[in-house]
Assembly symmetry: C2
Homo-oligomer: 323 residues x 2
Amino acid sequence: MNPAVFVDALQNELQHIQYGQNPLELYEPIRYIMNLGGKRMRPLMTLMSAYLFTDDWQKAIRPALAVEVFHNFTLMHDDIMDQAPLRRGQPTVHEKWNHNIAILSGDVMLVNAYQLLLDVEADKLKRVMNRFTRTAAEVCEGQQLDMNFETRWDVTEAEYIEMIRLKTSVLLGYALELGGLIAGVDDETTRHLYEGGMNIGIGFQLKDDLLDVYGDPVKFGKQVGGDIIANKKTFLLIEALEKADGALREELNDWLNQAEFDKAEKVQAVTAIYDRLGIRQSTEERINNYFDHGFTNFDQIRADPDRKNLLIQFARQLVERES
Amino acid sequence: MNPAVFVDALQNELQHIQYGQNPLELYEPIRYIMNLGGKRMRPLMTLMSAYLFTDDWQKAIRPALAVEVFHNFTLMHDDIMDQAPLRRGQPTVHEKWNHNIAILSGDVMLVNAYQLLLDVEADKLKRVMNRFTRTAAEVCEGQQLDMNFETRWDVTEAEYIEMIRLKTSVLLGYALELGGLIAGVDDETTRHLYEGGMNIGIGFQLKDDLLDVYGDPVKFGKQVGGDIIANKKTFLLIEALEKADGALREELNDWLNQAEFDKAEKVQAVTAIYDRLGIRQSTEERINNYFDHGFTNFDQIRADPDRKNLLIQFARQLVERES
């Protein structure tokens, strides 16, 4: 099986989904944000996971897209909360329309996600819905923690990892679990799927933080050092704040408190502090740790080796990405 | 059976619901808005409906509260959109906390509503969820229409009624339908329940518009004429705009366009225009029409007469309310 088959199946269904018709102001923003693209990573994971256990992976297509619609709902509402002007290089919904429309379209997107999930077979519905509902609440909890952290300077590593686990990783875990639930696998297998997805997800998110500082400027695609310029509380900064003392701590605090500065100079100076504290190595270790855990979770899943290989290759791409 | 038994059962369960714990900022606003009170009309309707067909009406308690939590979620988000400072005499969530918290707490409330609904028996889940999801989308559609109407002066009666049907009445319909679905009644009966609730709901909402102008100031509890002062596009105003012509139309337009005016004078003048156009009578006719339809729907339901009488008495209170 070529993974492109899954991508095509998702694209095809995405073109046919009716989110709703009237009033237009409510449904047009849904079509807009869903058409901004993205890697469709989550629904792809659901299909690959279902295919591990069944030839009838097509029955997972609409539930898989429930996860994608839910993810895009969170983006629409997060963009309001973060006052973000752009999403994937295009105006965000609250900018293109207005705040009220972004709130209400987002609400109906969450309802749409449930609608798509209702496509699963009746005997599997309760578990699928229970787990989705728990996951959805956790994603909201993660977003609230993220907002809380903006005004705190004493966030610990453990708190930060719990925040990214809730905000982003549990949904990757659920995306894989869902494929198993639809295929009707046992509890132990769904647990391996969920934890595998979640661990890869945490590693993936930490790698995001790492690449922002240590990414190859040519391959990275965004400005390297953006997080440093914005004082964004990443894993690297939290680790540095925990490790630095004496003159180094003072120097770091100075940069964090400077209202006006030369951007390149700040990036260079803070990166140098990270270097002296060994932040790159310790972050890489942590990332590899989560990735290793994830692959160990996958090892424990009993499935056809070729099919499992598809999933593992996909996860490897996430691990080895440089942008 | 005394209806107070249903009220007590709901209150008791409401005190025990765990919406969630961490982070506190996310879940505290849910407890706050749920504790502002209200008549708990919707969940009460679900319990009375279930009791029509089964002694085991207690199994409908948590699903009934799903409807109440959903309703309060819509209030939390509508209050942001309407920039409302107060809800039941207390600060709204976005005023007491902030906009972002009101958005995100609302989101997790919608998820909580689904969680409560998952309490229904597995073999009934798909229908219950399908109908809830359709209803939830319609409520959002109604809210969007309501916002659209704010800037339009050519809203027709039919459009207005469709808006209130979606925004408020379908949820009353669903509240009754849900009791039947949980009790496992046939499609014809659920249709009578749904349509009965919806028709009573439309009449109820139109009566709201009527009482605002023609309510007894002593019994009404709010300032009579509030809608006239605010130029609120009620059924009465839409009907008046459709019927008035010549000098009367000019006089009405003058009052609508006046930026500064004596409130009592405007209320008196616009009410006099309504009187001359026979708006009170035609609105009352329309209300009675919807109520009659609703009671005809109830007539067609086969159930124990004493139990049916409970529901009918409850609906009568809604019909005959003066505040």
